[in-house]
Each structure stands twice: as structure tokens, then as C-alpha cells.
Subunit: 195 residues, 2 copies
Amino acid sequence: MDSYIAPVELNKAHRLINHGPTVLVSARHDGVDNVMAAAWACALDFMPPKLTVVLDKSAKTREFVEKSGLFAIQVPTAAQLQLTHKVGNQSLVDHPDKLLTSGVELFHVDGHDLPFVAGCSAWLACKLIPEPHNQQAYDLFIGEVVGAWSDTRVFKDGHWRYESADPAWRSLHYVAGGHFYAIGDPLSAVDGVQE
Amino acid sequence: MDSYIAPVELNKAHRLINHGPTVLVSARHDGVDNVMAAAWACALDFMPPKLTVVLDKSAKTREFVEKSGLFAIQVPTAAQLQLTHKVGNQSLVDHPDKLLTSGVELFHVDGHDLPFVAGCSAWLACKLIPEPHNQQAYDLFIGEVVGAWSDTRVFKDGHWRYESADPAWRSLHYVAGGHFYAIGDPLSAVDGVQE
């Protein structure tokens, strides 16, 4: 694990996705790893932290999540624009070498049997909370966040540092057709508090 | 309704929230209107369009949604930073004049018995899809989008125009403690397509 990566307290884990970034979802089953992009991921609870993610029935990653009961959510950066677009548009079914050709490099975190994508700004290890009706009717999956980490060059001491980090670290916010927006400038309400 | 406001095709309605903005949730019950802010709202399906939103049990808006079966999701702008922060931090229970003191101005759309917040960039009229288990266990509400509109100065012909619109139109992305980020610059993948 890169020396810049540090754990994030679980009670602050929601902050890693609170601003609505497009994420990468990764999962492992039977010795095979996969990674996909998902614009539809969202925090669900503070403590224990939970999140939702929509995984289409055609996605191989979904099958791995259902079989392993585990998945990782990670926040890709502007530097990973092409990677994010590519893993979001290719299925492992048709492209068995998808991760290689997309430039995905995986790393391991002790205690978590999951593939984590290198170069992201934040990682959330999740345990599936099985909800068969949601999964079947809505493609909606709920996970409990059991571990969280950030790259301290862009998220440190519980806060995103987009304003001082290199713009290549900015989160991606997908719209449609390969078009994203990067996260922009900070805005603070006048009675905002420093937490 | 303002002359800049135009309907958005339902099959493109997800684009209004696909980039993960913090939203305003409004609802009406028994002649009373309320508006709250929610960072945890997310697209769920394309067609018919659906979305999820997390509504805490302490929120009066939640009660109105449960009783009326209807709610509106709207995308506030950087110009509405204070308004968004204020409606997100005050409850109608303690502040009966909350909308007035927050500067919320409501407008009507024919055919929808809902309060819509003026000055936003986009609006989604939603019909609750009752899922009692999700609502009780996770505070998670699912809505079907039955109407969508945008302010054409910032979303037109199915696309956000943040790069050419005044920065005051940018969406808000909440982190914590009154701190938000505005949406930033566009980024396009090299094989992105114009839809």
C-alpha cells in the first residue's frame, strides 16, 4: 500500500462520497477480479457507515458482489478519466483483458479480500447487506463500510483538500456520453463550522 | 413559471442529478409546505426514471412525503448556498417560519400538487414508490420521476451548460459543516460521444 494512503475514521467515511462523485466498484470471486464505474452510488448512513450502489444485471461485478458478499467503492481522479470511462463501458464478459487494457492496477489491503484500484483518492471496503427485493426489483445494493482509506495528498484529517491539491486529483462527476465534470471550487456557508 | 423554465424529456431526467449534486427536497401536506436539503439523493433508473433519497425520521418533509406520496427534488445553485445550508439545518418543527427566513420562494406547476423552489437549476416531480422496509430500516425513499424541468440558462437540449453559464448557476456538492464544493470544469473521455 502506497505510503500516502492512510485510514479514514469510519464516522467520517461518508465524507469520501458525500459530494456525489462517480465511483469505481470492484469485487473478487473465485480468483477473478473486476472493476466497473458507477455514477449511481450514494451515502446511506453515518455510523455504522452504509452506502447504496446501483449494479445492473448485465454487470459481471454484480455477480461477484452477490457471490462474495464484498465490494470496494473507490473515488477515481481526473487523472483516471480514461480508465474510468473504459471500465464503465466494457464488460468482463466481452473483454476478459478489460483491466489490463484499461490501465487498472490493483493493490491489496491486509484483512480485506478485495481488489483495490491504485491511483484513486479514496477507498471504502464494503460488506453487502443482502436485500434480495432491492437487488432484484431495483438493481440496488446496500453495503456497510467496514474500512476506509484516503490518499492524504487530497483527503487529510477528515477533509477533502481539492483546493490545494493538484487538479489531477479532482473527483469525476459523470453526466452522459463520456462527458464528466470535475469537482470545482469550495464554497462555505457563513455560519458553517469547522469540524 | 419563469419563462426560462422548460420541460426535460423523462428519458434524460437522470442527467439532472447524475453528477451527484446536493438537492432540495420539498413536499406538501394538509396545506403546509416544507423544504429540506439532502446530500444523499441518487438516480436509480433511466426509464421510467427513478431516484433514491435518504430522509431522516426527524425531518418534517419525510412525514409530508409519507402522507402525500409526492415530493419534488430540485438542484440548488451556488447563488442559493445560504438558502440550501439554512433549510438543511433548521426543522419546521422548531422554526415554523423556516421557509420565509431561509429566503425560499415557491412556485406552482400545473398538474403537480407540489411546492417547487424558485431559483433552482432543475426540478423533478416524484411519486413515492412505497417500500416500507427501506423507509423504516434505512430511511431510504424511492420515487418515480413523473415530471422534469430545467432552467434553460444552465441545462438545455439535454445537457448541462455549466461551462458557459454564470458561475452562480453551478451545482452544490456538500461535504460537512457548512462546506460545499461547486461543480467544476468539463472533462471528456477521448471516445466520448455526443448524445
